[in-house]
């Protein structure tokens, strides 16, 4: 679901795309980028959220290290491969429990949710998650 976005980032010279082997390592990578003066974006499938929860709660939230997360919503509405169904149902509840703000990204609310996200990131200095539904980005595979 994020494949088109990732291919685009690989093509654009100004964007520095760094592949991560695990989602929590990407959280660490983004934290290092922020601490040294950059504003990183983390892309992942919602299946990686579980790996990230310890990093979000024992690193980002307590240290005030923000990151913009763009997370694809696999398993939305119970229609997907079996491995995605449970996380597709609980990902937003997990974010709420952890105290991490999120919005479901739609073409018509893009400006509005980006403004909310940037306010959270710049003022509260905490992670914010944009949840991408199937079909939001071009899929090139």
């Amino acid at each position: 679901m994020l494949s088109g976005l990732i291919s685009y980032l690989e093509e654009v010279e100004e964007a520095k795309y760094i592949p991560s082997v695990r989602e929590d390592a990407a959280v660490g990578l983004c934290a290092g980028a922020y601490l040294s003066g950059s504003l990183p974006v983390l892309l992942m499938q919602n299946s990686g959220l579980g790996y990230c929860l310890n990093a979000f709660t024992s690193l980002n939230l307590i240290y005030r290290i923000p990151v913009l997360v763009i997370m694809s919503w696999r398993g939305q509405g119970g229609k997907d491969a079996p491995e995605h169904i449970i996380m597709g149902d609980i990902d937003q509840k997990l974010l709420e429990t952890a105290g991490i703000g999120y919005s479901v990204l739609k073409p018509e609310n893009l400006d509005q949710v980006l403004e909310i996200a940037m306010r959270k990131i710049n003022e509260e200095k905490v992670p914010y998650t944009l949840i991408a539904e199937k079909g939001l980005f071009d899929e090139r595979h």
Binding site: I18, S20, D24, L29, G32, A33, L35, A55, Y63, R64
Partner: protein, 186 residues
């Protein structure tokens, strides 16, 4: 060599280099011996010191960056060794204090007695790796690696000696963030 001796040898060599610390024994021993503004003390998120250091190194290519890691953290994030090798930041020195135990939680054994971490790093693709067992080997090895193109890896084998009365890092996490970030603005 005791863990504390390794720190005593290493800390005077750090200059003004930003150092990302692994949680537990690494943070506590380093903080209690010599607190520095350039230290990022990662008190939670075990395993992520190396990826945080990689992020710093990639965003600050003109500054040397050190990750001061432990065997437990490295074993937990061996994939990050591969990421570091693949991104190959020339300015990154990865130092691992290997005491073969989870020291600050009561010395439960890790598995690094059976896994030569410097060979793992070498196989992953670090440009150079050195393993030292004696205190007097630390300074020359550190200086050699600091003057080499990274990513490079220094494994320091030590015996556990942590005194649980050693205090925890007293700065709040927010303070650690602020002062570490400040070191990149000067």
């Amino acid at each position: 060599m005791k863990g504390t001796e390794a720190f005593q040898e290493l800390l005077p060599l750090l200059g003004e280099v930003p150092v990302v610390h692994a949680n537990g024994y690494i943070c506590r021993e380093s903080f209690s011996l010599k607190d520095r503004e350039e230290n990022f003390y990662m008190i939670g998120s075990m395993g992520l010191a190396s990826s945080i250091g990689l992020g710093v190194a990639l965003c600050q290519p003109n500054r040397k960056v050190i990750v001061l890691d432990g065997d437990g953290n490295v074993l937990m994030a061996m994939g990050t060794l591969a990421m570091i090798a693949a991104e190959a930041p020339k300015n990154l020195l990865h130092v691992v204090i290997d005491n073969e135990v989870y020291e600050s939680t009561g010395r439960q054994r890790s598995i690094s007695h059976a896994v030569p971490l410097e060979q793992v790093a070498k196989s992953a693709g670090y440009r150079q790796t050195i393993r030292v067992d004696k205190r007097e080997e630390i300074k020359p090895a550190f200086e050699k690696l600091m003057n080499s193109e990274g990513p490079v890896f220094l494994l320091i084998k030590v015996v556990p000696c942590f005194d649980s009365k050693t205090g925890r890092v007293t700065h709040t996490p927010e303070e650690i963030t602020k002062r570490f970030m400040k070191t990149f603005k000067r």
